[in-house]
C-alpha cells in the first residue's frame, strides 16, 4: 500500500504552539473555550497549551471585541485595541474605569477608577459623552444584546478648538446558543475624524458579521462591509445626533442588503452553481441512461445541435 510513510519528524514545541495558536485564533465567535478544550486534548502538553493560550486569547478577545461584565456590575467593558491600556487592562470610558482582564478565562477580575491621564480632556469628553449617549440609545433600540463604547482614538489631550481629533464607536453584539448549534456575532467599528480646519467630520465604518451553524455540519457566514461619509462639524450634541443617524442608516442598509443576499441565494446565486433540474427539466432517468448517451453520441457524430 502506498501510505506507509507517516509524516516525518516530530514537531518542535514552538511549531506545536504555533498550531495551537492558529486553532485558537481561528475559533468562531463565542467558541474559543470549546476550541481550547479540544486543542488541550490534542496537544497533551499543558505547558505548550498555556503559552499558546497566553498569546492567542488576547488576540482573539480583541479582534472579536468581546464584552465582559465589570465585577461591580456597574457596566460592561469591551475588550478592544481602542481601550487597551496594557495587555490586561482595558478602559471603559463610560464609567471612567479601568478593568483588569483575565484573557484566558475571559472574565474581568478587578476594576479601578481611571487615572486622569488615561481619560480625554474635558473638551473631548464633551463630544465623546454626547455621542456615547446617542449611540447607546440607538444600540439599545436595535440590538437585542448589543454593547457599545465610544473611545477617543486620537488627540485626547486637545483642550479646545483648533486641533483635529478622532473618536471611535465600537458596537459589539454576540449571540451564542451552543445548545442550538448556532453562534453569531456582529461587530462594527466607526471612526469619526473631527477635522478642525475643514470644519468637517469624516465617518468611516467597518461592519463584520459572522455566524456559525454546526448541527451535523459546519456552515459559516462571513460578511463584511466598509463605508465612508462626511458631514459638518457641529456642537457636541448635534454632532452626536448626526453621527448616530449616519451609523443607523448604514447599518440598517447593510442588514437589509444581507437579507437580500440571502433571498437571492436560492433563485440566483445557487443557479450559477448548478441547475435546479437537469437540462431536460425532468429528474434524471437512472434506468434509461443509455438512451440519452445514445442521443448525445448521435448528435455529436452528426455534428448537429450543441
Amino acid at each position: 500500500m502506498a501510505d506507509e510513510q507517516s509524516p516525518d519528524s516530530e514537531l518542535s514545541d514552538d511549531q506545536k504552539k504555533e498550531i495551537a495558536k492558529w486553532f485558537l485564533i481561528n475559533a468562531p465567535a463565542g467558541e474559543i473555550q470549546y476550541v481550547a478544550k479540544d486543542v488541550m486534548a490534542i496537544l497533551k502538553d499543558d505547558d505548550i497549551y498555556h503559552s499558546a493560550a497566553l498569546e492567542a486569547f488576547p488576540e482573539y478577545n480583541k479582534s472579536h471585541m468581546i464584552c465582559l461584565e465589570l465585577p461591580d456590575r456597574s457596566g460592561d467593558v469591551i475588550v478592544s485595541s481602542f481601550g487597551e491600556i496594557d495587555k490586561n487592562k482595558y478602559l471603559d470610558p463610560r464609567t471612567a474605569q479601568v478593568a483588569t482582564i483575565d484573557h484566558v478565562k475571559q472574565v474581568c477580575t478587578e476594576v479601578r477608577p481611571a487615572a486622569d491621564e488615561e481619560l480625554p480632556s474635558p473638551y473631548i469628553e464633551e463630544f465623546r459623552f454626547a455621542l456615547d449617549a446617542e449611540v447607546m440609545k440607538y444600540v439599545n433600540d436595535t440590538y437585542p444584546k448589543g454593547v457599545c463604547s465610544v473611545y477617543c482614538a486620537n488627540g485626547k489631550d486637545v483642550e479646545g478648538p483648533g486641533f483635529d481629533f478622532e473618536v471611535v464607536v465600537v458596537i459589539s453584539a454576540a449571540r451564542n446558543s451552543p445548545q442550538n448549534f448556532c453562534n453569531g456575532s456582529w461587530r462594527s467599528v466607526w471612526n469619526i475624524e473631527f477635522k478642525d480646519e475643514e470644519q468637517s467630520l469624516v465617518v468611516r465604518g467597518k461592519m463584520q458579521v459572522g455566524a456559525h451553524y454546526f448541527e451535523e455540519g459546519n456552515v459559516q457566514l462571513d460578511s463584511q462591509h466598509e463605508c465612508k461619509e462626511s458631514t459638518l462639524f457641529q456642537s457636541p450634541e448635534d454632532s452626536a445626533t448626526t453621527i448616530t443617524n449616519i451609523i443607523c442608516r448604514h447599518e440598517t442598509e447593510y442588514l437589509a442588503s444581507l437579507e437580500v443576499s440571502y433571498l437571492n441565494l436560492p433563485d440566483t446565486t445557487f443557479k450559477d452553481l448548478r441547475r435546479k433540474l437537469p437540462v431536460t427539466r425532468t429528474l434524471f432517468p437512472w434506468h434509461n441512461t443509455r438512451q440519452i448517451s445514445l442521443a448525445r453520441d448521435i448528435t455529436k457524430e452528426l455534428g448537429i445541435g450543441n
Partner: protein, 356 residues
C-alpha cells in the same frame, strides 16, 4: 480523535486544508483515522497538456479500488456487474443526490468497495486527452489509475487492477455519470453575475457488501462542501461556506444575523407595539428545495444532536420494482458525513435481477 473532529467542526470551512494538515502534524499516530474521517474540498488543478481550453465541466467519476478486487470477487456470492447493479446503486444514489441539494459538483466520486474508506485528495490530469481525478481512490504509490484507460500514470509494475467484472462496472458507471453530469451540470456561458466565487464539491461513497442470508448491505456516505461569495457595493463581501449533510440550512445563519440586530421594520414595530421579535416568528425556508416527485420514495429524517445518538429513521418506501426492508440513516461521522444504510431484499435485487 473526538477533539480533532470537534475542531474540524468549528474551524471555518475555507480553512479545512490548513486545519487538517495542522492536525496531521500534531497527531501523526492518527494519520489514517483523520484522513478517512475528514473530507476535504476537492481541488481542481488543471494540467492541460493536450488541449488549450480546459473543459468547464465538473468531473464526475466512479472508481473501483483495485486492491479490493479480491474481496469482491472472492467473497461475494453475488454476481457483480451488469446494468442491473448500476441501476440499483444509482437508484440509491439518486435517493441521496437528487434529494440533496447538490449543486455544481465539481467532482463526484463514487467508490464501490467493502469495508474501508480512503481519503480523497483530488487533482486532475490528462489521460489520452481526458482529465481524471487523482485521489486516494485510484492511487497506488505515486501513481494514479485513469478510469478511462485503466492505466496507471506514471506506469507501475505489479499493481492491482480491478477484476474484469469490476472494470466493466466501472466503465459503465462512468458512462452513466457522464450523462448524469451533462444533465445537471451543463455550464451555461454568460453567468448572471450574482456569484463572485463559488464551489460545490460533493463526494459520495457507496459501500456494498453481502451480509448473511443473501441480503446486501448498502452504505452511502455523502458529503457536500459548498462555498460561495458574493461581492457587491451595497453589501460588501458576503461569504457563506460549509459542509453539511443533506439539507443546507443556510437559513440558520440568516436567522442568527437577525437575532444580532433587528431588521429595521421589526425594530420599529418592536418599539411601537412592544412586541418582541425572534427569528422563529419569521419563517426560514430552506434555501434549496428538494424536488420530490414521489413522497414515498424517501423520507429524510429530522436532525438530531451532533455527536450524540445517531439519527435513525425507519421508513418503508415502496419503490416501483424494488422493495426495501428499511431505510436507515445514521450519522457516522458527526461533523460532515452522512451515512445511509440501505438494506435491500436480495430476492428482488439478487443475481437474477442483476444480470437482467
Amino acid at each position: 480523535m473526538e477533539a480533532a473532529m470537534g475542531l474540524m467542526r468549528r474551524m471555518h470551512p475555507k480553512h479545512v486544508d490548513t486545519a487538517i494538515s495542522a492536525l496531521l502534524s500534531l497527531m501523526p499516530e492518527q494519520f489514517f483515522d483523520l484522513l478517512s474521517q475528514v473530507d476535504q474540498p476537492l481541488q481542481l488543478v488543471c494540467n492541460c497538456l493536450d488541449h488549450d481550453s480546459p473543459k468547464p465541466f465538473p468531473l464526475l467519476q466512479w472508481y473501483l479500488f483495485p486492491s479490493l478486487t479480491r474481496n469482491v470477487s472472492g467473497s461475494s456470492k453475488e454476481g457483480y456487474g451488469g446494468g442491473g447493479l448500476i441501476a440499483r446503486v444509482a437508484r440509491k444514489i439518486e435517493l441521496a443526490i437528487d434529494q440533496a441539494p447538490i449543486q455544481r459538483a465539481k467532482h463526484y466520486l463514487m467508490e464501490y468497495y467493502i469495508g474501508r474508506k480512503w481519503h480523497l485528495k483530488v487533482l486532475c490530469n490528462i489521460d489520452s486527452g481526458k482529465e481524471f481525478i487523482l485521489c486516494e481512490y485510484n492511487r497506488e504509490a505515486d501513481s494514479y489509475r485513469s478510469p478511462w484507460s485503466n492505466k496507471y500514470h506514471p506506469q507501475l509494475e505489479e499493481v492491482l487492477y480491478p477484476s474484469l467484472e469490476l472494470r466493466k462496472l466501472e466503465i459503465e458507471a462512468n458512462d452513466v455519470f457522464a450523462v448524469y453530469h451533462d444533465q445537471w451540470f451543463e455550464v451555461r456561458q454568460g453567468r448572471r453575475g450574482y456569484l463572485h466565487e463559488g464551489e460545490w464539491d460533493a463526494i459520495h461513497v457507496i459501500e456494498v457488501g453481502p451480509e448473511e442470508d443473501g441480503t446486501s448491505h448498502y452504505c452511502l456516505t455523502s458529503t457536500v462542501m459548498l462555498s460561495l461569495t458574493t461581492d457587491n457595493k451595497s453589501c460588501g463581501t458576503f461569504s457563506l461556506s460549509g459542509s453539511i449533510r443533506r439539507q443546507v440550512y443556510f437559513g440558520k445563519t440568516r436567522g442568527m444575523v437577525c437575532t444580532l440586530r433587528w431588521p429595521a421594520e421589526l425594530a420599529q414595530q418592536d418599539q411601537k407595539g412592544g412586541k418582541s421579535w425572534s427569528p422563529s416568528n419569521r419563517k426560514l425556508e430552506p434555501l434549496i428545495k428538494f424536488e420530490r416527485e414521489d413522497p414515498t420514495r424517501s423520507k429524510w429524517i429530522s436532525r438530531s444532536k451532533l455527536g450524540s445518538k445517531p439519527d435513525q429513521v425507519q421508513t418503508q418506501p415502496q419503490l416501483p420494482g424494488r422493495r426495501f426492508r428499511s431505510l436507515v440513516l445514521h450519522n457516522k461521522d458527526p461533523t460532515i458525513v452522512h451515512h445511509c444504510r440501505i438494506k435491500a431484499y436480495t430476492s428482488r435485487l439478487g443475481s437474477s435481477h442483476l444480470n437482467a
